[in-house]
């Protein structure tokens, strides 16, 4: 059976890890926002602005890591906008999130057209290159899949641990989780709910933007319209799938990416000749919906998610 052959190739797993990386960044970013009580539907647009700004910075001569920094800053800027409107002003997180997505992607496209008015095919940059990790990369199957990736992928996996530790082992994480569960508990202990939630949305948006930047700076080497293509929405589903836990959400991202990598490969097989390619392309979206349905029953939603907090009200 072809599927088994595919599952046993290192290149398949390497692709899955690669596809998972941007999703991990953005999923962790969304998870941080939601754990603090804010649904960030700006994610799709923030990924676009991250993809654009990081790539543009490098195209204009900045080093790659500086490009990542620029993307993160751009994301944080839109995060600040989202946070200001939804946290102290308590506006609908649905409406603001969609507005931020529209704004961020429009700004990216506007800036792109402004800086490169006449080009038909976007210029390429030299993206991050894979770095072999000595020793580990020699392990059969796992080695080439996990330990011969670009630095951004390694960063994504390190971040899973970092976010877990911060959430569960530090005073900041405690405050963040409490803000998403019962903000009054945070205020009663002398902390500012507004500051914690805004901080979470800003940092989370920064991570989403890095997820976007991965697309232009590690996966592909140029910026296209529609390149984020719903990945942000998929990440929101992944947060639910992961029951708002960083480890599970990242595992979900990896599983999801494996299916995505599989469908690409299945298109090359005789099955691909029988089934229209659009069906394969639908797989990620259908999987996301299935994930939501599966987890809907037992998900532990942060109790104060989407509930604005007004100081002194309880």
């Amino acid at each position: 059976m072809e599927i088994f052959d595919i599952l046993l190739t290192a290149s398949f797993w390497a692709a899955a890890v690669r596809i998972a990386s941007p999703l991990i960044f953005a999923t962790l970013g969304e998870l941080i926002c939601e754990r603090a009580g804010v649904l960030n539907l700006g994610i799709e647009g923030i990924m676009v602005i991250g993809a654009f700004s990081g790539w543009m910075a490098v195209y204009l001569g900045a080093p790659l890591w500086a490009g990542v920094g620029v993307a993160m800053l751009a994301g944080m800027l839109f995060g600040l906008l989202h946070a200001t409107l939804t946290v102290p002003f308590g506006l609908s997180q649905h409406v603001v999130g969609l507005g931020v997505t529209l704004l961020a992607s429009a700004v990216a496209y506007f800036a792109y057209r402004l800086s490169l008015p006449e080009v038909t095919s976007p210029p390429k940059i030299v993206p991050f290159q894979p770095v072999e990790i000595p020793g580990l990369s020699q392990i059969p199957l796992i080695g080439p899949a996990f330990f011969n990736q670009t630095p951004l992928t390694y960063l994504a996996f390190v971040l899973i641990a970092v976010v877990s530790i911060v959430l569960y082992r530090t005073p900041l994480g405690l405050a963040l989780r409490a803000a998403g569960e019962n903000p009054a508990s945070v205020e009663a202990q002398g902390l500012s709910v507004t500051a914690i939630r805004m901080g979470a949305v800003i940092v989370g948006s920064g991570l989403m933007a890095v997820g976007g930047a991965f697309l232009t700076m590690s996966a592909f080497s140029s910026f296209f319209f529609e390149m984020v293509n719903g990945r942000g929405w998929i990440c929101i589903a992944l947060v639910v799938f992961g029951a708002w836990r960083p480890g599970k959400a990242a595992l979900g991202a990896l599983l999801f990416a494996a299916f995505d990598a599989l469908q690409v490969r299945l298109q090359q097989t005789p099955l691909g000749a029988l089934v229209p390619y659009q069906v394969f392309l639908m797989v990620p979206y259908i999987l996301s919906i299935l994930a939501l349905v599966l987890m809907s029953r037992r998900a532990e939603v942060p109790a104060a998610l989407m509930v604005p907090f007004n100081k002194g009200e309880r």
Binding site: R169, T170, P171, A178, S185, E187, A188, Q189, G190
Partner: protein
Amino acid sequence: MAQAEAAEVVLRLDGITKRFGPLVANNAIGFELRKGEVIALLGENGAGKTTLMNILFGHYTADEGTVEVFGQTLPPGHPRAALAAGVGMVHQHFTLADNMTVLENILLGTRPLLSPRLDARAARVKVARLSEDFGLSVHPDARVGTLSVGERQRVEILKALYRDARILILDEPTAVLTPQESSALFGTLRKAVAQGLSVIFISHKLGEVMEISSRVLVLRHGKLVGEVATADTDRQKLAEMMVGAEIAAPRLAEREPGPPLLTLSNVDTPRRGNAPGLSAVNLTLRAGQITGLAGVSGNGQAALAALIGGLERPVQGGMELHGDVPTDWSPRAALAAGIARIPEDRHKTGTVSDFTLTENAVLESYAEAPYSRTGWMDWRAAEDFARKIIETYDVRCPGPSARIRLLSGGNMQKLILGRVLEANPKIILANQPVRGLDIGAVTFVQNRLIAARDDGAAVLLISEDLDEVMALSDVIHVIYEGHLSPAFKRGTMSPAELGQWMAGHGFGGGAHAA
């Protein structure tokens, strides 16, 4: 506590004034709290007690006046400063995160946010010592979501003690406790006072105030109207100070009960989240009789109200309405069967705050003639109905087209009362009908319920206030963990005996094991 006079002043409030729009919630209030004393802040709902304490703690900022703790003026609007100065507050609605453990809740905010570690080990030792010293047993690694109300309150007190609070403020702490749990709380407070802490105890229950405090401050309509040593006063005097007039207790004339209108036999309903369902409940509501349901909140009152209100179906057991078994059960079926429902939460379930009085008046009957014909609304008929309620039930409001969110709690409740009583119900489900109302509205609502009973309606009165249940009921059941006690006739049980039942004593083995 005779030496309290000489003790050091730990807290001084001076000229505190707070306005919310036209309403003066606190009017030039000032008092002192001394080391090692318990003062009670007594007042009706809406007298301004909670507002005052929220100002003291820094949740609100006063328009005028200052708060001094240990001689230092607190910066207004900073809970953190109040905490640092040694003020600890146990809020009426607990401020705990359900998804975290007891220890995590206690640790929250105690270390700088950006410090890399929680230092949970040292904290665990300190919490264990405090639990021991103050008689506050609770498991540090239990998730708060799984704790009982009494345990949660202990966590709240531990939170304050962990931060080395010297002044404890407790806002209506006994509202959710059994009489037995309340005395345990008083034990803890006495221990705290013995160790030199000072306590402000906010309540509207006179008995407790007499029991625990050394001084009583009485608030009325935002003003401090009296300050007396507890030893020099009695319940009657305090009640008059609190209300500003003598209170007439509701009077229940003797009446022979009529036939059963609603019977539950051996009914179970499912558990919903933290709220227990009913188990093997037998209940008969008779015409011309008020059946009181006593119990600590969260013991299945919600499940019983949901069942009778049509929002929940029994998973086992039978229900008979007017002698028939209902075939379908829903809010609409309950309404059609002549059940009037006064919900526990007027704001969240009783009304749609952005709807007008008219729109709220027909919330339960909008689909019937004359308000709706073949899918079209007749707003004129609806408005006539709203006007009728406004007149008959003395709803103070700008008019039927005003949004209901502008009304006071009492007027909102009167509209709900009118909405359900105008249908001449056979059965009335009154869930916490007077909670949060001022005394005038309380009397109005209670008299209406008594009048309905006298006219032959079967009333089920659910309340967490044992005094209210005892004053108004012909028969009383106690609910505990979803189990129902036998019916006790009026006057056959003392508050202490009912308190035993509320704590679970007397229920069969299965119930008590929980």
